[in-house]
Structures are given as structure tokens and as C-alpha cells.
Symmetry: C2
Subunit: 397 residues, 2 copies
Amino acid sequence: MRSPVTSDSALAELACPKCDARLAPSVVTQLCACGSPLLARYDLERAAATLTRQAVRERPDDLWRFHELLPVHDRAHRVSLGERATPTLPVPRAGAAVGISRLCVKDESLLPTGSFKARGAAVGVSKASELGVAAFAMPTNGNAGSAWSAYGRRAGIEAFIAMPKGAPPIHRIECALTGAHVTLVEGVISDAAAVVAGWVRERGLFDASTLKEPYRIEGKKTLGFEIAEQFAWDPPEVIVYPTGGGVGLIGIVKALDELARLGLIGERLPRLVAVQAAGCAPIVRAWQAGLRESTFWEGARTIAFGLTVPKAIGDFLVLDALYRSGGCAVAVDDAAILAAQAALARDDGVLTCPEGAATFAAASELRRSGWIRDGDRVLLINTGAARNTTLVPLRSA
Amino acid sequence: MRSPVTSDSALAELACPKCDARLAPSVVTQLCACGSPLLARYDLERAAATLTRQAVRERPDDLWRFHELLPVHDRAHRVSLGERATPTLPVPRAGAAVGISRLCVKDESLLPTGSFKARGAAVGVSKASELGVAAFAMPTNGNAGSAWSAYGRRAGIEAFIAMPKGAPPIHRIECALTGAHVTLVEGVISDAAAVVAGWVRERGLFDASTLKEPYRIEGKKTLGFEIAEQFAWDPPEVIVYPTGGGVGLIGIVKALDELARLGLIGERLPRLVAVQAAGCAPIVRAWQAGLRESTFWEGARTIAFGLTVPKAIGDFLVLDALYRSGGCAVAVDDAAILAAQAALARDDGVLTCPEGAATFAAASELRRSGWIRDGDRVLLINTGAARNTTLVPLRSA
């Protein structure tokens, strides 16, 4: 690893948002001793010396454009499958149909392996490589497994992946093709997580589960960086995010907070909307009750498989972001998700996964209720490709 | 349409490569009266005035970077789903395993709808929009249907699509979601083409079939433009292309020819390799016999569904490109394709569709035979996402 002086990164320390512990980020780290996720903190003064709007504009628009605020010191450790900034597509006809005149979709399906999980994998695997990790384990609902397996293989890191039997078959195939050790588990992602916890305990594997290491979320921050830049440093009024583990939402807020402290954007946060499925809505239930944490959702079931997360480890960070930003949490049912998927495709030619489509269903509802106001710029996050899902056969095509 | 003086395009005329007829490109045009495809010709002197290496570098790296050599006059007609230049990924471990030290994959799976067909659709639909087309018809093995249906819908153009029943189900679903009228046909793409020909005859629909209108291939040229730029204006020695209809290969050659005439690259063409499946190899059979056209391949069948094209309308252009460039044509069997797909994924983390994987199988064989030489830079074209295919269920994952 290079010395900090020549490093690409202004990474300074790891901090615990619960007990306020501080750790040096020089070795492999998992959770805080208190059980909370750890978050990366940066030397913003150092970052400010080189991270300007002009500098960003002149850099390649890959995920490393804001590299001072990413954790990898030596760019030789960057692992790439060709990931780039994803487009923000206006969807004027779908927007007009529900009374939102300034509606866009950020289309994450154009990332390698077809989903936003490539962001966490690109940065998380790169950092794991820099720290000398040889093998990792993780549970997944599918997209993260495909992404981490592919990036891991590219870095020469061995992958052990547990996924529910009900996950879209494409993911187990992609994981197997890229040489991961895949175990299919009865139940939902929390059951897969229990299997992974056993591996970690017994075999000493690096635990790459959501928020159980501090760098995957740093990759998700690139979503926030891109939003800031694509909206000309004036983020939209509303961002609607399909929330399973919620790391993307936390990452967006962390990115915007850091940019605001650097003076690259203003202090105003977009109002963040966490969308869940009616069949698995622990964050919505907690938000409606004004709570700071969620409770386990029994019998989770929805066609938006990525939203089948009964209890997210980062739930307190998601809820905090909703309260801080004046956001909200909304549940939509499977019928509304399918109708929204059809509407975006039919009206504007934009194909979304069910999780991404859920954001349009939620936005329609929030517009009807008046929560989304006239003139609000509303950004939907389509987290992956339509084809990253279990396909519902058409009766007649 | 703007006057030529302020146009983005140096489009001058349509020319017939068989009978040498010339047509003005100002109205909707299909085949030449002689039955041959028509090809666009540009005023290269006019193009040269603004199309320089420096100018290209400073433009957004979308598909319109070389807009002088694309047919759309008014950028208001450009139809976009966020398409960008695709990455050229080194695959050093897979290369070393077969003795090719400088092996790369151009990964077209990162385009909208997950395949290279987005190129033809983005430019073809934009030009159709500029010419006032209201509805089109086309046969497809799947990828082109998804792409044209999505881009068509974005432009508000109605799509009538015929596809073989055996095409990967994801495509009929995506076409239906984006509002296309989809008809499933018994047989292969030539049977679907017969259905489309009936629609065109009876209903007067615009025929967007491969090479039956002159602009889809212009979109495919962007593949050649990107190769030239990504290889620092010195294209690789060998390009290996999975050849169904072969329009991508023709497009690459047309692009490199135009760039050479503008002095942006040298005269040397890469040696072009047309890869087909052992179960459908009409171009290979024709090339082996030294013929200028292929004959219909009976009983076409391969897991690389996109290669199931028994007789390509542009076969004479593909064969001409092979002879001119000192290239060749190679058939690989399904077992070799699956082994190649697994090797690229396992060795370098790169997921390919079966058609894309076929190029690696062919390159391995050409290296063993000595046709690929020490030090040759070899570029494989992965035409689409692994998931754009009918999935073979794993026995145990």
C-alpha cells in the first residue's frame, strides 16, 4: 500500500455510529465491538485540496471520479468490469400520466452484472484486495451474489455465497460460472445469513455481508456522487429508493453529506423515500410508528425478490435518513409493482426490475396524496435489469 | 429536418453495392430495386472539416461521437436510453491459458436491453423518427426485438415483431412490456422473416429487417468507431465476431474504411474472423469453398440462439470483408461454446452470452493452428449479456 501522502484516498478512520468508537482503517475490519456497522470517515480538508467540480469533470467518468472519498489508496488495486456512470433518463409520458412533470429514472441496469450491486462490489472487492483478503462469504437475494462473485473472481478472491432457493435462477448460474461456491438455502435472506455466519465462525472467512464490513457502502456512495453531478450540483427534491437492506439509500445520504461538507453542493438533502413491498415492509412499519429501528417481518413474500429483507442490519441508518431529510416510507403491493413496470416500459420504453418499478408505484401514490408537490424533481432508482428477476411467463405474447 | 448546412450528418447518398444505383437519402427507403441492400455514403470532405481525433475526444462518449458519419441530421431526433461506449476488458488469464498474450473482450452487455443490438436500434430508430416513420416490422432471434421495441417505444413508433418460439423468453417479455405487437413463429428466423414480409406487403409497414433499410448498419458502425478510438487509432490485428446476420462485422469494416479515408487510422484492416456455430454455419461453408455468397443452412440448431441464421441477406458483404481483410470463418460446436463461456467467467470474471463465448472458442482454435500469431492483439466481441439467453438449469449449484 502506498503511503498516505501519495494515496488516492483521504480515508482517515472507521467510526461507530452507535458507540462512537474509532478504529484505524489499515487492517481487515468487520463490525464494531458493540455490534454496530462501522462507517468510513475521510480527511475532508485533504480531500478538498484536489476534489473540485472542475477536477471531477476532467476525470474519466468511472466509479472512481470522486476517489478522495473512496477507500482505495492505490489504484493498482482497482478491480474493473467496465462500470461507468449510469444514465438519468427522463420519463415524461409516465410522469405526465401521474401528474409528476419532472420525473427521471436512474438506470442502474447498465452496470456490469446488470444491477446497482456492481457499485458495492467494485469498491468493496477493490478494498478487500488492497487489504489482502483471499476469500469472502456473503448471503444474497441474488444481484449482490452475481456482482461480488464476478468482481471477486476478477481480483482472484474466492467467493462463498449463500442464497435463498427462491432467488432468480440467473444469479446462481452467474455465481457458478464465475467460480463461486454457491449454497442454496430454504427460506429468506436472514436464513442465508445464518448459514454465512456459521462459515465465518468456523472457517474464519471474511464476512462481506451488508454493512458487516465498512467498504461496500462506500461503493454505493458513488450513486450519490453521480446524482449530485448529473443534477448540476443541485440534487432533486425527492429520491425514491427501493429498500431491501437499504445500503444504497444510506450511501446516497453519506455521499451528499460529504459533498455538502466540501461545499460542492448545498446543505439541503433531497427528501428520501424508502419503498418496500406490502409483503415485506419492516422499515415502513417502523417509520409509521416513529421508531428508530425495525423489527423482524414474519412471512416475507413479494415478487420484488430483492425487497425480501425481513430485518436490515442498517435499518437505524435508513430510518435516521428518512427523519433527517423529511422523507417517508411507503409500501406498495405486487399488483401495483407490475402495473408500474408495465407503465414505464409502455410509456417511455424504460425497462425496470420489479424493485425499480416499485419506486414508480410509490411516487404515483405520493403524488396523489400531495406529498410530492408541483414542480418537485423526482428521481426513481431502478436498481437492476428487468431480466435480473424470475420471469413471469406471459399467457399470450 | 435541418438544411444540410447546419446538419450533424455528412450523409450524401444511398448506394447499391451490387448494381451501383444511387439514391437521395431524403425519404424512407428499403432495398435497392435490384433487391440488394443499400449502403449510406457520406461526404467525407465535409466530414473531415469537423471530425478530428481531438474533436472526438472532447465530445460526450455516447454513440453520436462520430456524428458526421451517422445518418441523423437533427439531434432533436436522437432517441436515447442512456447508451454509451462499451468497455474493452483485458482477459489475461483466459488469454494465457490458450497462448494469446494480448486478448480483450469488448463487452456489449452494458448497452440498454443488454446487447449490441442497441446500437442499430438507437441509430435506426432515430433515423426512422427523422424520416417520419410511424410503425415498423421486423423478425428477430430476440436481442434486436428487445432493443427495437424499447427504442421504438421511446420514440413513439409502433413495433410489430415476429420471433421464433424457441427464442429466449426474456425477449418476448421485454417486447410485450414495451408495447410491441409480438407474434411467435414456428421454426427459425427465416420463417419469422416470411411472416414479416407478409405484414409489409399487406399493411405497408416500414420493414426494419436486417439490411432491408439502410440505417441500422450505420448504428453498428459505432462499434468500429469505438474500437478505433479505444485502441488509440491503431486497431487490433484480429477481431473475432459471432456471425448470425453479420451486420456488426459489416459495420465494423464500414466504420474502419471511412476512418481510414479520413486519415484518422491507417489503411490496414484487422483480420476479421466470422464465428458461427457448428449447427448453423452457412458463412463458414461458403468461405471454405471460396464462394461470394452462402446457401441456406437446413436444420439450423445451436444453443447460441443468435447464430441461428440459415441465410443472411448480407452474406456477400460479410464474405467480402473476410477475403479483403485476410480473415477467416470458423465454426465451433455447442460444447466448445459452453466451455469457453465457463473459462472466461472462471478465469477473468467476465460473463458472456453463448454467442460471445463462441469467439473465445474460435480464438483458441485459431491460436492452436497458428493462424493467430505471437503478439497479435485479439479482440473478442461479446454481443450480449449472459442472461439474454435461455438458461440451462444447473444440476447442482
